[in-house]
């Protein structure tokens, strides 16, 4: 496959892996966080963690948008979906996420709620046009990656003067979550592999504070094996040379200023919330979007009554520690037992991009070696 195979060449991967070994002091310990769930997935999918020198440890960050939605918000979504007049539309991977009663949208659907998978928020808009007698709600989830598509959909809904379409907005912002992790007292992260897809929208500048205030290097990276390993090499170079800068490994897609049109759409349609609760991490200031007042009539939280209950994360679950890079998935006592991809207890087991799910799916056999 063109534009993919080049980045998966065994020879190129082998060469970078060999370079990595020359960049670490034997016996030292370097902890790097890959922020994005897509990176976590790719690392396990391709077995990249097995190619790193022993001195380098990768920890998995909070960048799986499915995983970070708190259970209370899932219950709110189910409450909306169960209304008889509602057609509830969502990206596929949100459907399996369990809420507070361990019930998911998939189960709500089985019990009669009209829940439909869409591949784009614009598909939800078409459903609204085709069903004028029904209320169509789109479950807006994701970082700044998916938020622009939802913003454009809301602008289009306004243009069409659609009265039966709303968005249940749960969009989150990546930079405040990273700040929360850096501010957490026990965090010992030496550098960050910056998220690739988010950065196509926001650019590389929002990470500058990590370098200037916290003196940690950041390398924004792509998702192919050579991308990720090269990002690790660039981070190790910076650490060796005592530099803390934001570098862009994913230059073929990411611009420093991001995508100005997408950013303008976000600015117009959304307002940053005072705080938003993250599953596993708790409330983080200025870390989520709500729909701006000018579009309040298209906000599902205004159109429908939502319980808005806050539900504690399950006690046995160590997702918060995993998300902060303080525990490996298999160090959690319920990992693989009470918590599996089929019946997830904690956030990180939910989506295939969650650290625990990726580890469960691809890495369990290595557990004894690593532990």
């Amino acid at each position: 496959m063109k534009y993919v195979d080049e980045y998966r060449s065994a020879q190129a991967v082998g060469a970078i892996a060999a370079e990595l070994r020359t960049l670490v002091e034997p016996g030292s310990h370097v902890k790097l966080m890959e922020v994005c769930g897509g990176h976590t997935h790719a690392i396990y999918r391709h077995g990249l963690d097995t190619l790193l020198p022993d001195e380098v440890e990768l920890v998995h960050g909070p960048g799986c948008p499915v995983c970070v939605i708190p259970m209370g918000r899932i219950d709110d979504a189910i409450t909306i979906a169960e209304r008889p007049e509602v057609i509830f539309t969502s990206f596929g991977d949100m459907l399996r996420v369990p809420g507070g009663r361990r019930r998911s949208l998939l189960e709500a659907k089985a019990r009669g709620a009209d829940v439909r998978i869409v591949y784009s928020p614009l598909d939800a808009l078409s459903i609204a046009r085709d069903n004028p007698e029904r209320e169509v709600v789109f479950f807006g989830v994701g970082f700044e990656t998916t938020a622009p598509a939802v913003a454009l959909t809301l602008l289009r809904a306004r243009e069409l003067d659609l009265r039966n379409f709303t968005v249940f907005c749960n969009h989150v912002l990546v930079a405040p979550a990273l700040r929360a992790i850096l501010d957490s007292p026990d965090t010992e992260i030496d550098g960050f592999i910056g998220p690739g897809h988010v950065s196509t929208v926001i650019g590389t500048r929002p990470y500058e504070f990590i370098a200037s205030e916290y003196h940690r290097p950041v390398v924004v990276a792509g998702f192919e094996p050579t991308d990720i390993l090269q990002a690790v090499a660039l981070l190790l170079h910076q650490l060796r040379e005592g530099r803390a800068e934001v570098e862009n490994q994913y230059g073929r897609v990411v611009r420093d200023d991001g995508n100005p049109e997408a950013l303008a759409a976000l600015e117009r349609v959304f307002t940053v919330r005072d705080d938003f609760e993250w599953r596993g991490l708790g409330p983080i200031p200025h870390s989520g979007y709500r729909i701006a007042d000018a579009f309040a009539d298209l906000d599902a939280e205004n159109r429908f009554e939502v319980p808005g209950a806050r539900i504690e994360d399950p006690k046995a679950c160590r997702c918060g520690d995993v998300l902060r890079g303080m525990a490996k998935p298999f160090e959690c006592s319920v990992f693989g037992t009470a918590c599996t991809p089929e019946k997830p207890l904690g956030t990180c087991m939910v989506s295939s991009e969650g650290a625990c799910a990726a580890y469960y799916a691809y890495g369990r056999h290595r557990q004894k070696v690593i532990a």
Binding site: G47, E342, A361
Partner: protein, 336 residues
């Protein structure tokens, strides 16, 4: 069974489907012939050994690139018989039709089923029709059943599998599932992918010629190659180690999978078989497969290993490895 309602995950062919069958149906219906939960039950009558199977087809859309539900319903049951090591003798077909279904479309699907039966050299000898109210059947459902005469040379069972045995697949994977996903039209992908629906009776019979060197065969339909091989690993109590680069996937199918974030190992096939053979018979098996147009893309994809933790592992081209677990739920496209 801990679930209190049936969800679509129970129908996806992965872990939940397995649980539904084992914890509900097997519990209620248990008998020695059902217990192996193979593609077909092996029944003896007056010294004759027969394979007996059934399958229902609920595909949407009813017509997709490379095939339709009529052809699929015949090939699917022929294949279940074929990979059980039997020659199909006769099929039955039950049609559940929705009120208002156009007669000419129904005729076309019946013709297509007849053509597939002729191609597989097996008659459809009995049938049934039921008409249900509009909205009750998504157009048309077909259930086929089939009976086949077991090849005396074939003794196929996971318990016959030995460490060191080789794993083969008869051609490129994931085509049926991707073709149907694209044909549903909500992805707006412009890719020419045809379903691989085809009768496997000839290539399966050819492999039966290997005698005891052929250990086990399956057609990796719902849940894909990954799920089928997990069932093998669990049944044999051994691990299957796959060479990821050796698994044939057409470029357009790989592209679609990359775009959708779906692993081709979990996507359904309707005209491929996977076989385990003795190490010394691997070359001969490949030759037998490649001699037939339906096996032209056959490849050696892995090896069976003794292991206290039976898993399916894929070795990546970089010397890493990963677990290939059973499918959990439906393969849902990821957010990003």
């Amino acid at each position: 069974m801990s679930d209190d309602v049936v969800t679509l995950a129970h129908g996806a062919g992965g872990k939940a489907s397995r649980r539904l069958v084992e914890e509900l149906f097997l519990v209620e219906l248990r008998n020695p012939l059902l217990e192996p939960l193979a593609d077909a039950a092996l029944v003896s009558a007056n010294g004759t050994r027969l394979a007996f199977t059934t399958d229902s087809y609920v595909v949407r859309p009813l017509v997709f690139p490379g095939g339709d539900i009529g052809e699929l319903a015949v090939n699917g049951t022929v294949n279940d018989l074929a990979v059980s090591g039997s020659t199909p003798l006769a099929l039955t077909a039950g049609f559940v039709i929705e009120e208002g279904f156009p007669m000419d479309k129904l005729r076309a699907l019946a013709r297509s089923a007849a053509r597939a039966a002729t191609a597989a050299d097996v008659p459809i000898v009995a049938g049934d029709t039921k008409v249900v109210e509009r909205g009750a059947a998504d157009g048309l459902y077909i259930t086929t059943a089939g009976i086949g005469l077991l090849d005396p040379r074939a003794a196929l069972d996971p318990s016959c599998v030995r460490p060191g045995d080789r794993v083969l697949v008869s051609g490129s994977i994931a085509e049926h599932g991707i073709a149907v996903m694209i044909a549903r039209g909500n992805l707006e992908l412009e890719l020419d992918v045809d379903s691989d629906t085809a009768p496997l009776h000839e290539i399966a019979a050819a492999l039966c010629g290997l005698g005891a060197d052929l250990r086990w065969m399956r057609d990796p339909t719902r849940g894909g190659l990954a799920t089928t091989l997990n069932e093998l690993a669990a049944g044999a109590g051994m691990s299957v180690v796959l060479d990821e680069v050796a698994i044939p996937v057409r470029d357009n199918v790989r592209s679609a999978c990359e775009l959708l974030g779906i692993d081709p190992l979990y996507v359904a096939n309707e005209g491929k078989l996977v076989a385990v053979v003795a190490p010394d018979a691997a070359d001969a098996a490949l030759e037998l497969l490649r001699a037939h147009p339906l096996g032209a893309g056959a490849a050696l994809i892995g090896e069976v290993c003794a292991d206290d933790l039976p898993l399916v592992l894929a070795e990546t081209p970089f010397g890493g490895s990963r677990i290939v677990d059973m499918l959990v739920g439906d393969p849902l496209p990821r957010i990003c």
